[in-house]
Amino acid sequence: MLMDYLKPVLFFIPLAIVQLVVIPLISIYNIIPNLILILIVYYTLKEGQIFGTILGFVLGFLLDLISGGLIGAFMFSFTISAFISGYFYSENKMDTNLASYFFLLIVFISACVNSFLFARISNSNSNVNLLLLMMEEGLLPGLYTTLFGLPLVVFNSKNRI
């Protein structure tokens, strides 16, 4: 059981370095993809909703600690997005979910929710335009993150063949 959680945590370390060091270099108007979320969605679809929710919580906590941001912001947003992506978990359709473009749709939904929740929580300024936040911190990072989920789908579909 512990090993099940250890594996994604081990993947998390290099991904977190890439997320905090390399990904900012490709930001477009402060909009960046979230690689950690792709990892969480992947494991949620592989292991189930409860596993994913706990994993989102743990990885969110770790990312909060090492990124220097508010502790609790990623924790909350990852937990909720993993829970939402857990609705798409099906033992029988695991291969279809992970190796088809349906995976990208799940990543998109989760990324939009995650980005929006994170922005809403970490922003104490009450004057921030909600519609702007939904657009800039919901849809656009969601699309950008989805783009980074594409190689995973291609890799999984090739392995399936």
């Binding site: 990124s67 220097g68 941001g69 829970f83 922003n123």
Partner: protein
């Protein structure tokens, strides 16, 4: 009853878990300023930043040049000098001696490099490769050759966290250089704005914004940005100014920490604004 409860827990275990974890996350949010959370964060940053620093070095192999940091430091000093001289044009010598303006260029600058960035629309946090061992303290201003970047918010032994101007939790007392109009600069998630400037005050698009003499967090006359847009609100009584930062904050890699030790009492009071 027990059986019913057991069945209820079994049927709704996902929702119970979600509620439990969400409550923990949200309660953690409110305890960010507690010493334990601070120490935990500093410990994590101190250890993880080693890896980030290595990765940063690996990604910056194409633009490593020993003379560049020195030239950038010189540039930053010259920028401060230039700004001071610009100000001198607008004020007469007598008035300046009466105000006894502090000379910002006398503060030493500690060169540092950004090793990781947390970029979101509402939260701009950087981690730099200088910490308490380099005599960096919480509250020190951070700038580069173009202008102000942010402020040190947490310090570990070898690393520090910066709250950039693009952080909605940071408010800065500013002055418009040309007319000495004061205001508070905040980030609204999209732009840097200065609210509630009376429309009778002389403010024009293109005016330079700099740190105010009223701020003890920042030394005076550090350039921040220029007025990009002026909007009228409340039946023409007030203005909202949109400010374009002089420094390219998102793309910055090399920066300087201004080694100042402000008044302790005032500093402690102002530090509460950072929380």
């Amino acid at each position: 009853m027990l059986k019913f409860l057991r069945r209820l827990v079994y049927n709704y275990k996902e929702y119970i878990l979600l509620t439990f974890l969400s409550v923990i996350s949200l309660s953690t949010l409110s305890s960010n300023e507690k010493p334990f959370a601070k120490h935990l964060k500093i410990f994590a940053i101190g250890n993880f930043s080693l890896f980030s620093e290595m990765a940063t070095k690996a990604t910056s192999i194409f633009h490593v040049d020993d003379s560049v940091p020195k030239l950038k430091e010189e540039n930053a000093k010259l920028m401060l000098d230039l700004n001071r001289l610009r100000k001198a044009e607008n004020e007469n010598t007598e008035l300046r001696s009466m105000l006894s303006l502090r000379d910002t260029s006398k503060y030493p600058l500690i060169p540092s490099q950004v090793i990781s960035k947390l970029i979101t629309v509402s939260q701009g946090n950087f981690i730099i490769n200088r910490g308490a061992k380099d005599e960096i303290k919480k509250g020190m201003p951070v700038l580069n050759q173009s202008g102000l970047i942010g402020i040190i918010s947490d310090v570990a032994d070898n690393y520090s966290t910066i709250k950039t101007l693009f952080n909605s939790n940071l408010s800065i007392a500013i002055t418009i250089q040309r007319t000495n109009v004061s205001g508070i600069l905040t980030f609204d998630g999209a732009n840097l704005i200065i609210k509630n400037i009376p429309s009778t005050y002389d403010v024009q698009v293109g005016d330079i914004i700099e740190t105010s003499e009223f701020s003890s967090l920042f030394p005076p006359s550090v350039p921040i940005g220029v007025v990009l847009k002026k909007e009228t609100i409340n039946l023409g009584l007030l203005h909202i100014l949109t400010v374009q930062p002089l420094a390219n904050i998102s793309g910055v890699n090399d920066l300087f920490v201004m080694k100042i030790v402000p008044s302790k009492q005032v500093n402690q009071l102002e530090m509460n604004l950072l929380k």
